[in-house]
């Protein structure tokens, strides 16, 4: 499916660009982390160990001072307790306020982010590509109608719409068994994994318009080529022209936009789970919301997941730029 020339272009651009290498490396690490989370995680990410609550990362010490009033006969006395906590290797990045290991939670959070990002954005790409190609291929009234609906969709601010839809419909959680636990490879880990369904669908709803515009442009230009005209003149059906000629031709720019869209989808997912709309607690955004309440004593709880989000999104942006430079240097993503 991938031609030799494409492979050569990809390889050449990768070799000449440091940023492309960095991006690819980040994404590979994140994919592996997400895939093998149950085996790599030192702990069950949902297991609460209260003695370890707010434990600092490895190599750090932290004292926590708590004070309470104790009634002693007729006097009220203020008793101050200081406890020392030291980072240990079983919770390398520290622990959250319920004693759950942050490193383990990050690994599981990578699953949520990548799954929702890839599926949500991919769904948007698929819808947009079908609508756009159809619209560009047919032209006329159909095209007008479809492109007007794209205009309207673009007139609704994405995040605001996303919050409202989830607020009304409620979070739909799809629970799937974790194969590693199912086959006994990681018995202490959570036996199931939750995909936030509403969030995924909402991401598709707010992202399809860009793909539709892009695909329409491609459809319009391919339609006028001689070989499509020839195909039509010998009576090849519209569906078969779209399937066998237009999709393969339009796939490259859509693929590039999809890669860049994954980053934006991950940002949207983390925002929604930060605001409490996602339906799963194994998510980077959710962890940041938890850590936000403990900034004064335990900065690491909110900091670590944010770094994970930023790195992943940087990775998708760099890989997207690489694909664009290698496959379609004239593609202007910003103006869509």
């Amino acid at each position: 499916m991938i031609s030799d020339r494409t492979k050569r272009n990809l390889k050449r651009t990768l070799e000449s660009s440091l940023l492309a290498k960095v991006g690819a490396a980040i994404l590979i690490v994140m994919f592996l982390a997400a895939l093998f989370a149950p085996v790599v995680a030192p702990h069950n990410p949902t297991q609460q160990v209260l003695e370890k609550k707010n434990q600092p990362p490895v190599g750090m010490n932290k004292s926590f001072t708590t004070s309470e009033f104790v009634v002693n006969g007729t006097e009220t006395e203020r008793v101050t307790n200081t406890t020392y906590k030291q980072g240990t290797w079983d919770r390398p990045l520290g622990a959250d306020p319920l004693g759950r290991g942050i490193f383990s939670r990050l690994l599981y959070g990578a699953r949520t982010s990548l799954l929702v990002g890839i599926i949500g954005s991919g769904l948007g790409a698929a819808i947009g590509a079908v609508v756009g190609l159809f619209s560009g291929y047919h032209g006329g009234k159909v095209d007008d109608l479809l492109m007007r609906s794209v205009d309207v969709a673009l007139a609704l601010p994405g995040l605001v719409l996303a919050i409202t839809v989830i607020g009304i419909v409620g979070p739909l959680a799809i629970t799937v068994p974790d194969p590693f636990v199912l086959f006994g490879l990681a018995p202490e880990m959570p036996p199931t994994f939750t995909i936030p369904g509403t969030v995924t669908i909402v991401i598709a709803i707010v992202s399809w318009e860009e793909f539709a515009r892009l695909a329409r442009g491609e459809g319009l230009s391919i339609r006028e080529t001689d070989y499509i005209k020839a195909a039509r003149s010998i009576g090849v059906s519209d569906t078969s022209i779209i399937r066998t000629h237009m999709i393969p031709n339009a796939i490259t720019p859509i693929l590039i936009l999809w890669t860049l869209g994954i980053g934006r989808a991950i940002l949207l997912e983390s925002t929604l789970s930060f605001l409490g709309f996602s339906g799963t607690t194994l998510s980077w955004g959710y962890d940041i919301a938890v850590g936000r309440e403990y900034l004064a004593t335990s900065w690491w709880v909110a900091t670590m997941p944010g770094i994970a989000i930023m790195l992943t999104v940087i990775g998708t942006n760099l890989v997207g730029d690489w694909l664009r430079d290698a496959l379609d240097p004239n593609l202007d993503v910003e103006s869509l």
Binding site: I168, F274, L275, G285, I288, L295, G306, N317, L318
Partner: protein, 330 residues
């Protein structure tokens, strides 16, 4: 200058989009699984409130009657009453507009003030440490989740160094300026500045990063054009060429993107307001969704759509003034 026909056409388009978007908002109430009333009222709503919403939304009537009724209320600027407070929705939204507009403008000012000089510098000193720094900054800026950036800024500047307040908006800019001008007391303005600085930086970062990137690439494109070489050959001073001719030409697409990004600030503001407890429209939306105050949610959505379309229309008309070549495009 844009012709009257162009302006009218653009306005007509804007109104059509608002109508369509308002219709989408109308259909949202049918998304609710099960009894729509259950999802649209607060959890502890009384039977009376339920009856009230059935009446208000005409849920007993056929859909087309509901729809016509809804549109006629909107045309009369009647957004209904909040279930929670009983205050008219329009009044509550009106009180929240000021803070959001303040925040948005502050973010744009910061973004433009930082990004254009940074982008220009980075293009003129290509492959220098400044250029690499700017590239890394803009990559990070478009990849960072803004709610997390806000929390990190709070962590550093409010919690750790105790330089700025963590959140809130004790005084608005109008009141602060009044205090300064009438009583010559700058304390109000200082308070306002100290409270708006972190949220505005948070909200403006994405825009700053994007415009830096764009300014750099547009300027490099423009510097490579033939007329620059002609001017150099004629002995014009480099500063004159760069600032009078090249920069001007390369800023047109930059202004386009600033305009496009202004709409996106509305999205960002929702989250930033939540992080910094900034009492704007975005925070009102989240609160209303959390307590299921449907008239408020609907009102904010409609308000945001109108704001968004208005910004885009004004931006479009502005281009026509800046760059006459785009004026009449059929």
């Amino acid at each position: 200058m844009p012709t009257g026909k162009f302006v009218l056409k653009r306005f007509g388009h804007g109104i059509a989009v608002i109508w369509a978007a308002v219709t989408v908002v109308f259909t949202l109430r049918f998304l609710t699984p099960g009894d729509p009333v259950t999802a649209l009222v607060p959890f502890d709503a009384t039977q009376e409130t339920r009856q009230q919403i059935i009446q208000e939304l005409n849920l007993n009537e056929p859909v087309y009657v509901q729809y016509v009724d809804y549109l006629s209320q909107l045309v009369h600027f009647d957004l209904g009453y909040s279930y929670l407070s009983g205050i008219p929705v329009s009044v509550r939204i009106f009180n929240r507009i000021g803070p959001t507009v303040e925040l948005g403008i502050a973010a744009i000012v910061i973004a433009i003030a930082l990004s254009i000089p940074l982008g220009v510098l980075s293009a003129l000193r290509r492959n220098s440490p400044i250029d690499y720094g700017a590239t890394i900054f803009s990559l990070a800026g478009i990849s960072i989740p803004n709610f997390w950036l806000g929390i990190m800024l709070i962590l550093v500047f409010a919690v750790h160094y105790d330089l700025l307040p963590t959140s809130g908006r004790p005084v608005g800019v109008v009141a602060a300026l009044e205090l300064l001008l009438v009583e010559f007391d700058p304390s109000g303005l200082m308070t306002w500045l100290s409270h708006i600085l972190l949220p505005a930086v948070t909200l403006g970062t994405y825009m700053t990063a994007m415009i830096t990137r764009l300014t750099r690439s547009e300027l490099l494109d423009e510097l490579g054009k033939a007329y620059v070489g002609v001017m150099e050959a004629n002995g014009l001073p480099q500063t004159l060429i760069t600032f009078k001719h090249v920069l001007r030409n390369s800023l047109i697409p930059v202004i386009t993107v600033i305009g496009l990004q202004m709409g996106h600030l509305i999205n960002g503001a929702v989250v930033v307001e939540e992080v910094f407890a900034w009492p704007g429209v975005g925070r009102l939306l989240i609160n209303s969704i959390n307590v299921r105050d449907w008239p408020m949610v609907q009102g904010v959505l409609i308000f945001v759509v109108i704001g968004w379309v208005t910004i885009n229309t004004v931006v479009d008309l502005t281009y026509a003034v800046i760059d006459p070549r785009i004026t009449i495009e059929e």
